[in-house]
């Protein structure tokens, strides 16, 4: 960090978060941060393995493995992981994305060694049984019914992934195809586990009421003996651009029509990615934002409107979600959205509007990381995808260094009609 950047940061008065980094002999990367004033520690283990690392005929494998990692390991019998953790006052959960799988545990600081014992054992060896596999397949089938099939607009992720990314590894949803899931056998999982869940492919972050030296010793004790595994080339793929607008109507069990627009963006952490995030704040952050004020409040066309930037390793997505008021037309909503996008593309962002989103960012960066679980998650992310933990304190500068013209340029580069996907959700006819 240069002196200039430091001076720049002081202007924003954002408290820093301290941290230390280390790499174990087997290649496992570690981030530790003493933080907070309650006797709790968060342990986050993130693997650089997501649904994009699956074979296209075994989709859903990464997420299935995530479920099964709670179901027993060489020294922890099935059912005991959560049992032992909770009786020590801990909690745990996990999530899978296209690029990574994260496991997190929070535990009273006097039980941190137990948490590491539990967590390391499931990386150390494969202990999943046939019985667990069949039950967790059923649980995931219900998860899919709950969040996709029985949920309004629930097919969005699956449909948009396919349309945006086609045959590439972002072309299927994280939960995967249920026929693929049924076909996955123990041997498939074991091979995937042995290839992917290796120290070199992993970051562990420990945040909270810790002593750096003791924590590092414990990490070495429990994770240091895990075998390194074979190095393999990460599955990074080139991203095809969309060259003409794709539109599709989808009939669903919904009462209100919905319009969903997707644009592809460059990968997370790039300058354009930050610029789109800032532009997104102009469009949809707060009741005075463009989309909310003009399309929901003034025109009364929508019951809900939002937009967001979803950052990923090989490509990001900017998406706009609009749920129509009964009787209002999706065409009219799309016209309004396009008018606003054309307006920002023409450079029409006022100085006050630009200051506003910068002010909002400052509050956001001051307030967002107050919990040990979310800080640990962020450290693992920064280490894995940017190899730069200092961004926890300095990422605000990636935004604050942008000018209005950066926003306009980015909008002109990516927010073009011929580069987008438009999905219209319409009520089932019956």
């Amino acid at each position: 960090m240069s002196t200039n950047q430091l001076a720049e940061k002081i202007k924003y008065d954002i408290p820093s978060i301290e941290f230390k980094e280390h790499t174990l002999d087997n290649g496992l990367r570690i981030v530790m941060s003493k933080f907070g004033n309650i006797p709790i520690v968060a342990l986050n283990t993130t693997f650089h393995t997501g649904s994009k690392d699956e074979d296209n005929d075994k989709t859903g494998m990464a997420h299935l493995l995530e479920h099964l990692m709670f179901e027993g390991s060489p020294n922890v019998p099935r059912g005991q992981f959560d049992e032992i953790l909770t009786k020590n006052g801990g909690d745990s959960n996990a999530y899978t994305t296209r690029d990574s799988t994260s496991y997190f545990i929070s535990v009273p600081s006097n039980h941190i060694e137990t948490a590491m014992w539990l967590d390391s054992d499931r990386i150390y060896g494969f202990g999943i049984t046939e019985e667990s596999l069949e039950i967790q397949k059923d649980v995931i089938l219900e998860e899919k019914l709950l969040y996709v099939d029985n949920s309004p607009y629930g097919s969005l992720e699956e449909v948009s992934s396919k349309k945006l990314f086609g045959e590439s590894p972002y072309g299927w949803s994280v939960i995967g195809d249920m026929d693929d899931l049924r076909r996955i056998r123990i041997q498939d999982l074991k091979e995937f586990f042995e290839k992917q869940y290796t120290p070199g492919n992993t970051v562990i972050s420990v945040v909270g009421d810790i002593d750096y030296d003791k924590t590092l010793k414990l990490l070495d004790k429990y994770y240091g003996s895990i075998k390194s595994g074979k190095d393999f080339l990460k599955n990074k793929f080139a991203n095809d651009e969309i060259d003409s607008e794709i539109t599709e109507d989808i009939y669903d069990n919904v009462h209100l029509e919905g319009k969903f627009i997707f644009y592809k963006l460059p990968e997370t952490g790039t300058k354009d990615y930050y610029a789109m995030n800032l532009l997104n704040a102009v469009l949809s952050d707060g009741d005075s934002s463009r989309f909310f004020n003009e399309i929901e409040y003034k025109s009364g066309l929508v019951n809900e409107i939002d937009s967001s930037v979803f950052g990923m390793e090989c490509s990001s997505i900017f998406n706009i979600t609009a749920i129509a008021m009964k009787g209002k037309s999706l065409e009219e909503i799309e016209e309004k959205i396009d008018m606003i996008i054309d307006d920002v593309k023409s450079g029409n962002i006022s100085d006050r509007e630009f200051s506003k989103v910068r002010n909002r960012l400052e509050t956001y960066f001051s307030s967002k990381r107050q919990s040990v679980i979310s800080i640990a998650d962020k450290f693992s992310y920064l280490k894995l995808f940017y190899n730069d933990c200092s961004r926890i304190n300095f990422e605000i500068l990636d935004y604050m260094s942008l000018s209005k013209s950066d926003l306009t340029e980015t909008a002109n580069k990516y927010l073009n009609k011929n580069q987008r996907l438009v999905l219209n959700y319409l009520p089932n006819k019956s």
Binding site: P15, N88, E113, D121, I135, K137, D149, N303, T363, Q370
Partner: protein, 467 residues
């Protein structure tokens, strides 16, 4: 499997690590509920200050001690009134319109939110400390001088009608709504906070003003200042902006209590194209300040309150019926309910009901195991500090002490009380508060496929009028 092979190679710098047994834990650290400042303003506002200088942020939380419970007493068919009043409060004052408020708040990088529950109405703001004065002035303006413009009511009602339409696409919402309707039959808690089609059409700006007058008064108000602000600064702000505010329209609540149903009943609500049934099963419970609350919540944690609870273990981990299942006692000021909720495939709805019944009977009829009870005590004690992580977490707890009239040392004695509970206590509250012969089964899904099979659980009725 290659496990033994890996084990042989498992050397560390300090020799071979024995992974077969869990390590010993150190001594737990004491956790006390943090002290907070409390006083009364000159005109009777209860003021709390939770000072924490680690972040340059200030939150102010205004909590009025009445909410949507009052809708029922504001005239025929007025449900949704409290919630609309709080929503429209921030949509215009005598000197600022909705767009001006939104623009000023957004520009300061601040947040301003409002809403209501059955028992309370709240307005909150947060911002960086350097903008707190400006934000607090806007907050003061919306609380003291709301305009309740006709066009804002129209806009909000219209939006609300549409939200209701989209909510009926959600099976869990349907099961929840019909459950409340029948468990609390015709008492104030039976009506949805968000309102219904007929009542939303029936609410006028006059009603908003009446609700406002009844609820928004200094005596009825708790204010919590949280973050980088001292008690002196906070009190001075409060006195400066609110000391001349006098409004004595707040009266003691009329109380209408729901009656317990006599026999089990099944209510089916059809959801078009459903591939799962959403279940909400239960009956009346307890009010928040019931002295059995802590024992009951320990019992409920074992039954269905956390991941390794009996109900989740049975339905998810053993049977693979569901992605998740949970039970809860929802407690309000004058009443409450107990419920089990989950989502399962249509054709295993009956089996799921039976398993839930089995678990309820089991915890009523048999003592819980010593180890199981100790585990849940450890879980609750160990997890407690997580609930005190941020100053706003602490403020939420401090506010709930005041809102529900709990003793000042409630959270300081909480862990000790949890640890004193015996298996006899657990059985006693399970017998007293779980009633398997008077359950209400509210199920949304494919009614036609369900109705015959549900007869075994109680008299079946199909809901025709969702609104």
């Amino acid at each position: 499997m290659a496990i033994s092979e890996i084990k042989k190679n498992a050397g560390t710098k300090s020799g071979i690590l024995d992974r077969s047994k869990p390590p010993k834990s150190g001594k737990p650290k004491d956790v006390n509920f943090p002290k907070f400042f409390e006083t009364k303003s000159s005109n009777g506002i209860t003021a709390l200050v939770i000072q924490d200088k680690r972040l340059p942020l200030v939150t102010s939380r205004f909590v009025f001690k009445s909410g949507a419970y009052l809708d029922h007493f504001m005239g025929e068919s007025k449900c949704g009134l409290g919630s609309l009043t709080s929503e429209i409060l921030t949509k215009g004052t005598e000197s600022r319109n909705a767009s001006m408020i939104a623009e000023e708040i957004d520009f300061l990088g601040a947040g301003l939110t409002s809403g209501c529950s059955y028992d309370a109405t709240f307005v909150s703001s947060y911002s960086l400390k350097k903008y707190f004065d400006e934000v607090f002035d806007i907050m003061t303006d919306v609380i003291l001088n709301p305009a309740f413009h006709e066009e804002e009511l129209e806009r909000s009602s219209d939006q609300r009608m549409n939200s209701l339409l989209s909510m009926i696409d959600d099976g869990d919402y349907l099961a929840d709504k019909i459950f409340n309707r029948h468990v609390y039959w015709d008492s104030p808690y039976s009506y949805p906070i968000e309102g219904e089609r007929a009542s939303l059409k029936n609410i006028t700006t006059g009603d908003l003003r009446n609700f406002y007058k009844k609820v928004f008064s200094p005596e009825n108000l708790i204010v919590a200042f949280v973050g980088d602000i001292s008690p002196d600064e906070a009190l001075q702000k409060l006195e400066n902006n609110f000391s001349e505010w006098n409004n004595n329209y707040t009266k003691a609540d009329e109380i209408i209590l729901p009656e317990f149903n006599k026999t089990p009943r099944v209510f089916l609500t059809d959801k078009k194209g459903a591939v799962q049934s959403s279940l909400k099963i239960g009956h009346l419970g307890i009010k928040r300040n019931n002295p059995d609350f802590i024992t009951l919540s320990v019992m409920n944690t074992m039954l269905g309150g956390y991941f390794t609870s009996r109900i989740n273990k049975n339905l998810r981990e053993v049977n693979g019926y569901t992605y998740g299942a949970r039970s809860v006692f929802s407690c309000y000021r004058y009443s409450g309910d107990f419920s089990v909720t989950t989502e399962v495939k249509t054709d295993i709805t009956s089996e799921t009901n039976k398993e839930i019944l089995k678990e309820l009977n089991e915890i009523k009829n048999k003592f819980v195991g010593k180890e199981e009870l100790q585990n849940v005590k450890n879980y609750i004690s160990g997890n407690f500090p997580m609930q005190l992580e941020t100053p706003n977490d602490i403020a939420s707890k401090a506010i709930s002490l005041k809102l529900h009239g709990l003793e000042d040392d409630y959270y300081n004695t909480y862990i000790r009380k949890v640890n004193e509970i015996t298996k006899e206590d657990i059985k006693e509250v399970a017998e007293k508060y779980l009633h398997t012969d008077r359950l209400i089964y509210s199920i949304s899904g494919k009614s036609d496929d369900l109705k015959d099979k549900m007869q075994q659980f109680g008299e079946v009725e199909i809901t025709e009028d969702i609104f």
